[in-house]
Symmetry: C2
Subunit: 207 residues, 2 copies
DNA sequence: GACCGTATATTCTAATCAGGATATTTATAT
DNA sequence: ATATAAATATCCTGATTAGAATATACGGTC
């Protein structure tokens, strides 16, 4: 659970996890992550993947095993994990699991500036969000069914389950907030309205 | 609710919000955000702040109003928001509020790779997380009291309330998961254990 | 057999970002 | 009086990152 990591991108963790299983070339790692839907939890794009692999190799957490080519395709380098890499993987992963980290989400950023919007607009937008969250959750239902039918073991979709739970909690809370504003019950609503009625944010007259 | 923004860093949104109130120089924006605890929801550091302000000015969303110096301190530039900037602020903020965005959190990344850890270790780490979440929530209690005492209107801490709610939901879920693993009730646990008992992740013998 | 879309595989580049360096002023303690 | 710390204010630079560009192969269809 050491200090700052040499390679900090979570994608690097996914790379280590792939190579923990068996040696692969980068493109195959990407394919593996996609197939297992890990790219929904860890941002994956090729630009970053190759940079991250390079970084891991530079720090000896992984190393090239061989380069080969199939037919006339571009040559590809197969990497394997090192002992240091295995250690880093476990250490890093343990860290992520046991230490709640400060995260900066888009919605929280938006909420923190909510007073900028007029109360009525805010209420309408929050209701919109509820609708969209409901749609999202309905779509997730399909995946739930998949797990329930034992086609995919729950363990392998545990991160999706976590995401749903948080979305549900979010929905419940946002619904409440939208209602409170809509029904005029939020503390401080009068001031908020007053602030906007008195022309906040309009272009100030050039004196 | 347009496509990709010219300046995408949420800090830029905070800058626009500050200038929506009144003209300021960058350092004052930072001080304002800190004072209002907005830096807990929007990542703030000086390096980014000045870059972002420059970007906003380049795109005419804000513009320098005057430069002044107090005593012998570095000269400072006071910016004001433009009409385009006011529009962008409302548009962007509305977008954040009404569209649930895909977020990549550290914990979700960790969860998605949970099978890499041995079940017993995973359970222990998840319990650890619960303890730390409890501490976090206990500390937040102080802020709750502040709001309850009407020193700070609820509206101005609404983002913190949201964060607590999600943390509470997380705690409940993680507790459940840790218990299921600990008590051997998780579906697929036997396979997971077997996988680790059979030497997964140990250095493969060089044949 | 010519065409088109998708899969295989990597590299390049422009832009963004975080962290620290810099330099002065004011407040506090010695 | 002097040292030290904290606040004021900005800028620089290396590292990271995302998106696009590149190039070949394969599988199906008209």
């Amino acid at each position: 659970m050491s200090g700052r990591r040499k390679v900090a991108n979570p994608l690097a963790l996914a790379v280590l996890a792939c190579l923990f299983e068996r040696p692969m070339h980068p493109y195959e790692m990407a394919a593996t992550m996609r197939e297992r839907h890990k790219d929904e939890s860890i941002k994956l794009n090729y630009g970053s993947l190759y940079t991250v692999v390079e970084g891991l190799a530079r720090h000896k957490l992984i190393e090239p095993q061989e380069t080969e080519r199939a037919g006339n395709r571009p040559e590809r380098t197969i990497y394997r994990i090192t002992d240091a890499g295995r250690h880093e993987l476990i250490d890093w992963l343990s860290d992520l699991i046991c230490n709640p980290a400060r995260e900066y989400t888009q919605f929280e950023a938006g909420l923190s500036l909510l007073p900028v919007l007029a109360p009525a607009d805010a209420a309408r937008l929050l209701e919109q969000r509820c609708l969209r969250l409901e749609i999202e959750l309905a779509q997730a239902e399909a995946l739930r069914t998949l797990v329930a039918s034992r086609k995919v073991p729950r363990l392998f979709m545990i991160e999706a389950e976590y995401r749903w739970r948080l979305r549900e909690a979010e929905l419940a809370w946002v619904r409440g907030l939208a209602a409170e504003i809509g029904e005029g019950k939020l503390e401080g609503l009068a001031e908020w309205q007053g602030f906007h009625a008195s022309g906040a944010g309009r272009k100030p007259p050039d004196k």
